[in-house]
């Protein structure tokens, strides 16, 4: 299939490479010429704008930093909606506000292009190894149509319901994640301050009702889990600033729907504090460094 791919950053570039490996023909665009050249060396054709990339494509995929870039790439004068042929499906894998995703999908539908939101989890490692999880918001028929292509970039493709629901699922999951990580960070810091061994404490929590991914797979206390970011100075992993962005989306969405998310709001403020104190580029579990004084 001839696929237009726009947004060749830390996530988009390895995703596009996996589509090439799966045998698809790619026409790509990024604001940074070197990113386009990099994919060109791997066999992709370069384009001069999102509109020209989309022009001859049978499918369009975008992977961009945030809502403003997504709106510009789709709705700009040289944007995808200006160039794409009617009937061609559009997939945005960026993580953005669910309402903006729905507004964009409605605009695309109005000109005859079915559009899915399909944000991912799994990070740059998952993008490189093709083991991402796609959380897809789309009509059932569109979901079935795009699933095989997404499967070339991920190990799991989950249908979350209609337009925008992929974004809802992602921000709700990351809301729980951001909160539970802070809960584990507080518990581990407190327990050690009160005289407990960190590994023994984690063992109790992991076999009790406090069990969670943040404790049993990604424990923020150094020495508890081999291979977690805590074991390598909080390098790699999922950056504090990315968690901060997702909690910002969650609290914005909560405002729009008049939903109380007091814990998420406090978590957002704590990650913001940690980012301001220099932890923004570290893995988000590094927030325990702000809490520990042992």
């Amino acid at each position: 299939m001839k696929i237009a791919f726009v947004g060749l950053g830390n996530m988009g570039a390895p995703m596009a490479r996996n589509l090439l490996r799966a045998g698809h023909a790619l026409i790509v665009f990024d604001l940074i010429p070197a990113a386009v050249e990099g994919l060109g060396a791997a066999g992709a054709e370069g384009a001069h704008s999102p509109a020209s990339a989309a022009h001859a494509a049978e499918l369009v995929i975008t992977m961009l930093p945030a809502s403003p870039q997504v709106r510009a790439v789709y709705e700009g004068a040289e944007g995808i909606l200006a160039g794409v042929a009617p009937g061609v499906p559009l997939i945005d894998s960026s993580t953005i506000d669910p309402q903006i995703a729905r507004t964009l999908a409605a605009a695309a539908a109005a000109q005859g292009n079915p559009m899915a939101d399909a944000p991912v989890s799994g990070g740059t490692g998952g993008a490189a190894s093709g083991s991402l999880t796609f959380m897809v918001g789309a009509e059932a028929s569109l979901f079935e149509r795009i699933k095989p292509t997404l499967a070339a970039m991920g190990k799991s493709v989950v249908h979350c319901g209609g337009s925008g629901n992929g974004q809802v699922a992602k921000i709700c999951n990351n809301l729980v994640l951001g909160i539970s990580m802070l809960g584990v960070a507080e518990a581990m810091s407190l327990g050690v301050a009160l005289g407990m061994d960190a590994k023994v404490l984690a063992g109790v929590i992991n076999s009790s009702s406090g069990r969670c991914w943040s404790s049993d797979t990604y424990n923020p206390y150094p020495g508890v889990i081999d291979g977690a970011p805590a074991a390598r100075g909080y390098t790699g992993g999922f950056g504090t600033d990315l968690m901060l962005k997702d909690l910002g989306l969650a609290t914005d969405a909560a405002k729009q729907s008049r939903q109380s998310v007091a814990m998420a709001a406090v978590a957002q403020q704590l990650y913001q504090l940690w980012s301001a104190r220099g932890g923004g580029q570290k893995d988000f579990s590094s927030i325990i460094e702000m809490l520990r004084h042992d």
Copy 2:
């Protein structure tokens, strides 16, 4: 073995019955005469005070509501320390402040009685079925000595380190639990308000990094997990007021050790609000009722 058991409430009475079933001789005390009579019918001997219950015992176990009762039962004029023979081990299974547990253990040690803190998880159901988890703070030799007796009341007996560490483990686990439950309640409420199906959302979270006991075993949204308190109007389970007590212990312990637990402090306030609004006796997952407006 001849065991003194003091505190025959919703937890203590079934625990004592399991000791009788295991073949131990029991001498029991409770402030409520009917509670003593109930155990008497099951084969236990009644006593007139904690001191007299402890007098001829080879082991003493207590299960009381909170720190003030524990101090009174051990240190009062008619208390256990006034009646017990030197060398007899003492086990307190109440959930109390770790510092008070350590102070009491030091006082007991000073008169020749080794003392363990052994709070439990598993609730009244676990107490009745003998499937509690004991989190034990004690010297290693004392732990080995009391483990078989505790095993007659529970399926899991975990050594958490020295005196007080059983209490530390319990309040740290319940700190994570109270926080993650609120995180899941916020995510489920927000996701449904934004148009997602509750079961689909829980499925995404449970297979992603938001996975936790509060979501995959005890999800607060009705209809997601058969058998969870949410499926029966939040009856049974672990009451909001009990979670509130444990978060109070956690935030008190954090003050003593100058540890920041901002998320636990907000959680404590939210459960307090829910208790004040009538949710105190319901299972703690009912706090989602305060958040939902779908």
